[in-house]
Point group: C2
Chain length 356, copies 2
DNA sequence: ATAGACCATTAGAGCGCTCTAACCCACGGC
DNA sequence: GCCGTGGGTTAGAGCGCTCTAATGGTCTAT
């Protein structure tokens, strides 16, 4: 009786919007209390089989669906982790997100994906959204945040940077970018190259580590005097200018290590346009081992990162921090490995000759 | 006084979790009522400047942040549209999502991105999540849903299929896939090809239309008797088997039209492995004009789709339906165009010769 | 002076759910 | 016959917010 009255009142109040059935409606129909419906919905074991069935039937008949915001409000928990992706167009990031999502799902967490679209401002807005939405943890996939901003963020919410730099004061999951870059240089050096230039990643998160690895790799190989870093970027189009610069000098380098595969692909384009055969006149190494590097026509020598594992590890780290409340700083560094394909060979002998 | 008491009570009740400041706290600190804080937060014009400033200051001092679930519950609106992406690793989908997101943001909507990871089951779960979360509309980017399932869905929530088939009984935004396929065939036919085979898209949403376009294109060119469709897929790896089949016959076709760029790239790989030079011995056309087709080393002739515009249009369509409450079925078909690059040329004369 | 109009402000109910504490009703032990 | 005991069930407060209707005050018109 009371139920009926309440419900009547509330539907009189209701104005626009969908008006989907509520727990009250289910309770009414099943002849039980609201609380019991809640117990059934949350799979509590202390409900008699008879009532459980009645409730489930009523729910099915009404097409009842729990209201997530209401549930989150009442629980004071969202069971959600926020994932901020730098750029949805880079398949590398897509793979990492897949990993995070898979691990989160295995632990009954859902994932709120937001897209920074390569702009720092949008990242800030995204974090604001995360915080308002009450995500319990945040994964930053290839972030453009400064160390300072991250410092402020981690106070509020557990967070982890995936595939970003390692210099932050927040937990990180990533490949050893520095080592990866060293591997690239080492590979080239072993082939006999000495004049190896680097196309850097501009404002990308991992740019600094890779460039550092390039430098240390060069030193290790005793090639310190040949260190040469050119402004690049993280997109294909960013390579053209740097390549032009490189080719403008009297005796260009014999090898190039590019920040990532996309940049390497762009470099390949430009070299081709300039009539410089790869690898015979110029060796080229990328980074990320995205599927494009495996395309036979590119067949790019590159550095592999275990993307899926990185994603899963990021989620695991976050969920552990959420459950034990700790905010311990963790550094997970996975091992990169070089994948040798067809864009590297011993250096040309003599000056750079162009086919056109 | 009353406020203080209430607040004391509620914080005594509070147990775990973050305990972020609420409107009540802000109201207390600013010496106003909860309702006034709400008005300020929602930028109501009917608040005195003095109080507004006081509220904003108190909010800033406390680090107040509106609680999204609470707000959504009270408003009975979420101002969110759900975006279900088939596959985050395909850059094509990433671009479409970018478009949706941009348009949604321009209209003060946020976007809940869920990833189907190429599995129908996950799509169903994702939609369930959308419905529980109370999204006001749903965009399905490259869905694997059946027409039936979509039919049921559109009753509940406005939805639009982007870059999917056009045969559904829900609104769609897409390229004219059929025309696109016809353009591909027409281009090949104009070059002199008659034996043109098609590698289809398997269970992909747009597979049927493209395959239909292939057939009608063949008919239009008077090549009906050469129609030949091979099982493909939507990933690079799916091409190998079909190519092997194709090459196994006594006199293989002179041209191939692949379902999408990824499949075309895979085909290119396999043809290369088999020693079949492209395009001299075999012409190849893809679909989507993703960035990989533009890579000089692939330089794939393909069909362009205006991805960003598709995304924006999808969002516009949904938002219109949300605001005027109509559920009118709309068909937006954008024009594809052929982008001729280097994987097509006149057919070989004589039998297929292999270089290895 | 008084009614009406208008403005900023507020009380308080309500959104749909969860969760604690209480309740009821066997049942068994004394 | 009375008192736990404990499992199934429920009342009711509370989560943080919005929104309607009401309040009180100032201002103008009468």
């Amino acid at each position: 009786m009371v139920y009926r009255a309440e419900r009547a009142m509330s539907s009189a109040t209701a104005t626009v919007a969908v008006n989907r059935p509520t727990m009250q409606d289910v309770a009414l129909r099943a002849g039980v209390s609201r609380a019991l419906v809640s117990l059934v919905m949350n799979k509590s074991p202390r409900v008699s089989d008879q009532k459980r069935r009645a409730v489930l039937r009523a729910a099915a008949e009404l097409g009842y669906r729990p209201n997530l915001p209401a549930r989150q409000l009442a629980r004071r928990r969202t069971h959600t982790i926020g994932v901020l992706v730098d750029n949805l167009r880079n398949p590398f990031f897509g793979e990492v997100v897949d990993g995070i999502e898979a691990e989160a799902a295995d632990n009954d967490y859902s994932v709120l994906i937001l897209n920074g679209r390569r702009e720092a401002q949008r990242e800030i807005e995204a974090v604001e959204t995360f915080l308002q939405a009450g995500v319990e943890a945040i994964a930053l996939v290839g972030t453009r945040f400064s160390a300072d901003e991250l410092d402020r963020l981690r106070v509020t919410t557990p967070c982890v940077v995936v595939a970003g730099g390692a210099s932050y004061s927040v937990s990180t999951v990533g490949t050893d970018d520095r080592l990866g870059a060293e591997l690239a240089v080492q590979h080239l050096a072993a082939l006999g190259h000495s004049r190896i230039s680097h196309l850097d990643g501009g404002r990308s998160a991992t740019a600094e580590q890779r460039s550092r690895g390039y430098r240390s790799g060069m030193k290790l190989a005793g090639l310190e005097q040949f260190i040469d870093v050119r402004g690049g970027g993280d997109q294909e189009a960013d390579a053209a200018e740097a390549i032009d610069e490189l080719l403008a000098v009297s005796d260009p380098p014999t090898a190039i290590f590019a920040f990532n595969d996309l940049l390497a692909a762009g470099a390949l384009n430009r070299l081709d346009e300039a009539g410089v055969p790869v690898p015979s006149a110029m060796s080229l190494v990328g980074f990320d081992n995205t599927f494009i590097s495996a395309l036979r026509h590119l067949s790019l020598t590159t550095i592999n990162q275990p993307t899926l594992a990185m994603g899963r590890l990021a989620a695991t780290t976050l969920l552990a921090q959420v459950s034990d409340g700790s905010r311990e700083l963790q550094r997970h560094t996975l091992q990169p490995e070089i994948v040798v394909r067809s864009t590297t060979c011993p250096p040309r002998t003599g000056p750079l000759t162009r086919t056109r």
